[in-house]
């Protein structure tokens, strides 16, 4: 192809020089922060040569750092792009459920996560699968949890790239004719990300998250005050949204979307919110954020202050309606309508170029933070539960850190290939499945925090049944317009016409199988695995010694630098 004749952008999308410069500058600032993060609170003796240091930031993050880290980790760039996009396209049920989802999330986190923190602190667990292994002594169950975590995380990373891509497209980078040129900025961004994640580990996203969160709060607060004034107040914005969403589409004979859910959508709405909330902290990247905190109560305190992000997400969702009222046209490079461009386009259309640049940079950087944490979390799972447990049981901390660093590169490269090589909808479908799958690890992880009643093989069978049902049910959802499979995450409960989130039905099947088979296996007196945890572990705090220290010091010596 003749490079000279290919413009940097299609003629209708000129490169916005000012906004682009702002994005580049902020990206460079973030890259410098990412590399410098290696020296932040680094242990002088050990460097970053263990998973505790590289993969969990030294296990010493306090309330503030955790607030920024988890805020950047859970409220991802894809959320910022996809939630308003869903509001713009189909309204409340597929978009605004994110608000109750991120409300009910925090009571659940409050109850569960401090117990997981305590037992992990006592035993040095780095991943959720480490805990399952320690609790049930079942290699099969451990690997099932680890593989589910890795597989569910990969498309999630890919979607962060989709978020960056939306920003780059709106900025005017890329062309319909030259795919390589389109993807080049994305590749550069990801190589830089991979480099500082490799050198700094979890410290890099923790510091960058501070920059990202401040930028995104600034952008959303300004937009939510300024735009409604510009477009005649919320009254007329909601008027425009209601008109668009309740208009009957000639193609399907149904309304375009849902403005306020009717009785038939109630079950879909609340099961989507609850199922997503139960699933979110089963994702390895969320648990990485929890285990990186320095005390048992850090995560509980954060459960009370993290909801501020949910408020921001709610307003961001409403920007989807603002875009309806503003008549935003999210036209992709190939001329089709792409709802995911709605929010970046809205900022570019109605703000000075420099401020739009800040908002777009916030979204792009917002993709880098979770992408880094997710790749670290997936790499830790691979290292601890596949490499160490299955391949090389004698691996020392230094080797583990080395393997994990390389695995994080592989994971990111895989996500990049996924987004560049495959259709974008493949990543979205996989992410949809990932949400269903990850919830199937809930019984093994959460029940284990409270009881050893469940049999390990019953939990495994429940997991398998849930995954099987969820995958088949999701495949059978056909998009009415395009006739494609994996058309959504809501389906009727088998034998009824009550529409619910597929993950919830799979979850119920999972638990039923686990309960019934536990009774059967116990009656058969099938062998139970070894449990290395004790009741005391689940309430331990940061002042209680770790088990390794107890074993080293007792009964030979009565003192020792347990908390060194």
């Amino acid at each position: 192809m003749n490079a000279m004749s290919v413009p940097v952008a299609t003629p209708d999308r000129p490169v916005n020089g000012v906004a682009f410069t702002v994005v580049i500058v902020l990206f460079l600032v973030v890259a410098v922060v990412g590399f410098l993060a290696a020296r932040w609170r680094a242990g002088e003796k050990s460097g970053l040569h263990s998973l505790d240091e590289w993969g969990l930031g030294g296990r010493g993050f306090g309330t503030w750092v955790t607030w920024f880290l988890l805020g950047g980790d859970l409220y991802t760039a894809y959320t910022f792009v996809a939630v308003p996009a869903a509001m713009w396209a189909t309204g409340a049920v597929s978009g605004f459920f994110a608000v109750p989802y991120t409300i009910v999330l925090y009571p659940i986190v409050f109850v569960l996560m401090s117990r997981l923190w305590s037992v992990s602190h006592r035993h040095g667990f780095v991943t959720p699968a480490d805990f399952v292994g320690g609790r049930y002594g079942s290699r099969v169950l451990t690997v099932a949890v680890a593989v589910t975590g890795i597989v569910a995380t990969m498309p999630y990373i890919a979607l962060q790239l989709v978020g960056i891509k939306a920003v780059l497209t709106v900025l005017g980078l890329g062309s319909a004719e030259n795919a390589l040129l389109t993807d080049l900025p994305l590749i550069v961004a990801f190589v830089v990300l991979a480099a500082y994640t490799y050198t700094s580990g979890l410290r890099a996203p923790a510091l960058i998250a501070v920059v990202k969160d401040l930028l995104i709060y600034l952008a959303v607060i300004v937009a939510v005050i300024y735009l409604p004034i510009k477009f005649g107040g919320w009254d007329s914005i909601f008027g425009a949204a209601q008109q668009k969403l309740t208009a009957v589409s000639p193609a399907t004979g149904k309304p375009a979307g849902v403005f306020i859910p009717g009785a038939s959508s109630y079950s879909a709405y609340w099961t989507l919110a609850l199922g997503s909330a139960l699933a979110l902290f089963m994702y390895p990247h969320s648990i990485t954020g929890v285990l990186a905190t320095k005390s048992r109560n850090t995560i509980r305190k954060n459960a009370a202050v993290l909801p501020l992000y949910s408020l921001m997400l709610g307003f961001l969702a409403l920007l989807g309606y603002v875009a309806i009222s503003a008549g935003t046209k999210p036209i992709d490079l190939n001329g089709t309508v792409n709802p995911q461009l709605v929010v970046p386009q809205l900022f570019l259309d109605h703000f000075p170029a420099w401020f739009a640049g800040i908002a777009l940079a916030a979204i792009a950087i917002g993709a880098l933070v979770p992408a880094a944490i997710m790749s670290i979390a997936a790499a830790n799972l691979f290292t601890r539960n596949i490499y160490r447990d299955l391949i090389r049981p004698t691996a020392d901390p230094r080797q583990e850190a080395k393997v994990s660093k390389i695995a994080s590169l592989v994971v990111k490269f895989g996500a990049l290939v996924f987004v560049i090589g495959m259709d974008q909808s493949a990543a979205i479908n996989m992410q949809l499945l990932g949400g269903i799958w990850i919830l199937q690890t809930f019984p093994a992880i959460v029940a284990g925090l409270y009881t050893r009643w469940f049999h390990r093989w019953a939990l495994f069978a429940g997991w398998a049944a849930g995954i099987l049902y969820g995958t088949i049910a999701a495949y059978n959802v056909v998009n009415p317009a395009t006739k494609a499979h994996f058309g959504g995450s809501v389906a009727a409960i088998p034998g009824t016409d009550i529409q619910v989130y597929i993950a919830i039905v799979a979850f119920v099947i999972n638990i039923l199988v686990a309960v019934i088979l536990t009774l059967v296996f116990r009656a058969m007196k099938m062998a139970d695995g070894r449990d290395i945890t004790r009741e005391s572990d689940y309430g331990a705090d940061e002042h209680d010694p770790k088990v390794a220290e107890i074993e080293r010091a007792y009964p030979l010596s009565e003192s020792g630098d347990a908390l060194g």
Binding site: A273, L274, P307, R534, R552
Partner: protein, 111 residues
């Protein structure tokens, strides 16, 4: 679990920085009341925002925003408050249980 509120260790209370046997409890037995209170508050924060029929209506609007939208966003600060109260209640009981087992070593400690 023993029903005693105070630990009855023959050698006296263990110091928190001295490693002890793995089976040694890290906290003394719980009083149920704080956990029941926190449980109720957290259950409210989960169940009420998921009860869709209670808020699926357009009116009353607030500054032009339909009830459905502003009511759910109102629950964000309410949940934060309920979780915050639960935190105070649970952490206080937690501290009492630890102090009881550590012989009051960490009593003056406020975090």
């Amino acid at each position: 679990m023993s029903s005693a509120d105070m630990p009855t260790s023959p050698e006296g209370p263990a110091r928190p920085d001295v490693p002890t046997d793995h089976d040694m409890p890290t906290r003394s037995p719980a009083k149920p009341a704080p956990y029941v209170i926190a449980g109720i508050l957290l259950a409210i924060a989960i169940v009420v925002p998921l009860f869709v029929p209670s808020y699926s209506s357009d009116s009353p609007r607030l500054a032009g925003i339909p009830f459905f939208y502003w009511y759910q966003m109102l629950w964000v600060p309410i949940t934060a408050g309920l979780v915050g109260i639960s935190y105070q209640v649970v952490v206080r009981e937690d501290r009492r249980r630890r102090d009881a087992i550590r012989g009051g070593v960490g009593q003056g400690e406020v975090r």
